[in-house]
């Protein structure tokens, strides 16, 4: 404190972020601005994309150190870590994505799937996009764990993608999360041309029979059965699938309403804020401004496309096998992106035949796709984890 005033001022200026801002950080701040625009103006999955974008902005402010860990000295904390560092632990330790799945479980009605279990095959076929993108990513030079994380974008399931990436390739969390949520928002633009290209007008006009009602008992037994089968076949999927099904049994049991409500509202919202901001905050300039990010964006788009094609093609096959009772358009809903992809099936179908209501039928493959990509995630985790 014995320095003259002007020196103190110079020191102070040197401590500002302006003096340390790199052009890469400036670019990243610009990118976060674009994402904020997409989230607010274009409403691209704003619940996730807005926190992600703001987290990206915060993480690229020089010297702010919001993602920096604590400085330890002889087992004692000498300087506490940044706010986002602590919140990020929930992602790093694999806690937040399963909790979001808990909430999704309480909001998902598997009734249409139970009324027509064959929908499960469509939900499986649409996961082709995951493995196709994985394969292409390997060819583009990504390592196995990286390729797996990129492939999961094709699952069209944000929390699954974040969960797999945080375990297998945390350095890609930023671009993968952004790609996953952006393409989920773009489903109404990506899917229709592919669906039309792969189906005939006659197929698209098929009207499906009304679904049978599903009893309460079936709906309660379903989450137990899926947890058992899924987690016994693929133990590594237990936390995602288990929480999804715990949420669903909360919903269908009708006896724990207050837990169900909290899991799907407050708990999910709190976790979403923390997850979004901190996933965004992993996207610092060094990791994000690479050619890899461009590859990921491209591969993600391909993954969505292949998934849509896979579902639609199996839909065509099932249409044939069933003697024209199944409209192949519901196959594309198997990518998940609940409930957007099911609505796309509805809209595309209705354009050909204004009296065609596919929404309920498309919800079957749609929710099957969530289970399908959770299982694909389990495959990757058990191979590379």
């Amino acid at each position: 404190m014995d320095k003259p005033l002007w020196e103190v001022i110079v020191d102070f200026i040197n401590q500002t972020g302006f003096a340390h801002l790199t052009w890469q950080q400036a670019v990243m701040i610009g990118v976060s601005g674009v994402l904020i625009y997409l989230a607010i103006k274009k409403e691209y999955e704003p619940l996730l994309l807005l926190p992600i974008a703001f987290g990206m902005l915060l993480a690229n402010l020089p010297l702010a150190g919001l993602m920096e860990g604590p400085i330890m000295e002889e087992g004692e904390v000498k300087q506490v870590g940044g706010l986002l560092y602590y919140l990020y632990q929930g992602v790093k330790l694999g806690i937040f994505p399963p909790l979001i799945f808990l909430g999704i479980g309480t909001m998902t009605d598997f009734g249409p799937l139970l009324a027509n279990p064959k929908s499960f095959f469509l939900g499986a076929a649409a996961q082709a996009g995951i493995f196709a993108a994985f394969f292409l990513a390997l060819l583009l030079g990504f390592t196995g764990p990286e390729a797996a994380s990129i492939g999961i974008i094709g699952g069209a399931d944000g929390p699954t993608a974040i969960y797999v990436t945080s375990l297998l390739a945390p350095e890609l969390l930023g671009p993968i999360a952004v790609a996953a949520y952006s393409y989920m928002a773009l489903v109404p633009i990506i899917q229709p041309p592919i669906m039309r290209a792969l189906t005939t007008k006659a197929e698209r006009q098929i009207v499906m029979e009304q679904l049978r009602p599903v009893s309460k008992l079936e709906k309660i037994l379903f989450p137990i059965a899926v947890t058992l089968l899924g987690a016994l076949l693929l133990p590594s999927t237990a936390s995602l699938l288990g929480m999804l099904m715990l949420g669903n049994i909360f919903r269908e049991s009708l006896v724990v309403d207050r837990l169900s409500k909290t899991a799907q509202n407050e708990l999910m919202n709190i976790v979403t804020i923390f997850l979004g901001v901190t996933v965004g905050a992993t996207a610092n300039a060094e990791l994000f401004l690479t050619i890899g990010t461009l590859k990921i964006v491209g591969l993600g788009l391909l993954a969505f496309g292949f998934g849509t094609a896979g579902g639609t093609l199996l839909g065509k096959l099932m249409c044939k096998l069933s003697g024209g009772k199944i409209n192949p358009l519901i196959g594309s809903a198997g990518v998940s992106a609940v409930p957007m992809a099911a609505r796309v099936s509805q809209v595309v179908g209705q354009k050909e035949n204004p009296n065609n209501f596919l929404l309920m039928h498309a919800m079957g493959p749609n929710v099957a796709g969530v289970i399908g990509s959770a299982i694909a995630a389990g495959v990757f985790i058990s191979l590379f984890g």
Partner: protein, 126 residues
């Protein structure tokens, strides 16, 4: 790894992966079908009624946020009926288009824990 090895291992994983997804989901399809058979063998007509009711209801007003479970205790049903009538009257509609899903009494009727708080009310009715 050279490109050939990558191709080979990538193909393997693709096959294993998609196969696993199909096997898992097929297992689920099988189980679900069995469950459905078992359940509907014993009780073929259940679940129908509920759906019918739903189709009748063009309009669902949720007076209070909480409960999604329709209260079945007589007292509540009476109250709900009353309010339904009142709302319908105000709206100039016939009652079978309007369903008052629930009326919240003091802090959440659905909850087990809140029952303690209601004992005064209960006792006054006994």
């Amino acid at each position: 790894m050279n490109i050939l090895e990558i191709l080979e291992s990538g193909t393997k994983i693709m096959i294993i992966g998609l196969a696993t997804v199909f096997i898992a989901l097929s297992g689920i399809v099988l189980t679900v079908t069995l469950i459905s058979k078992a359940v509907n063998y014993e009780r073929p007509n259940k679940g129908k009624a509920k759906t019918d009711i739903k189709e009748n209801s063009n309009l669902e007003i949720k007076v209070a946020e909480e409960t999604s479970k329709i209260e079945t205790q007589a007292e509540d049903e009476e109250l709900i009926a009353l309010i339904t009538a009142a709302v319908a009257a105000s709206l100039n509609r016939s009652t079978h288009n309007v369903i008052v899903k629930s009326v919240n009494r003091i802090t959440g009727t659905g909850s087990q824990w809140s029952k303690a708080g209601r004992y005064e009310y209960i006792s006054s009715k006994l």
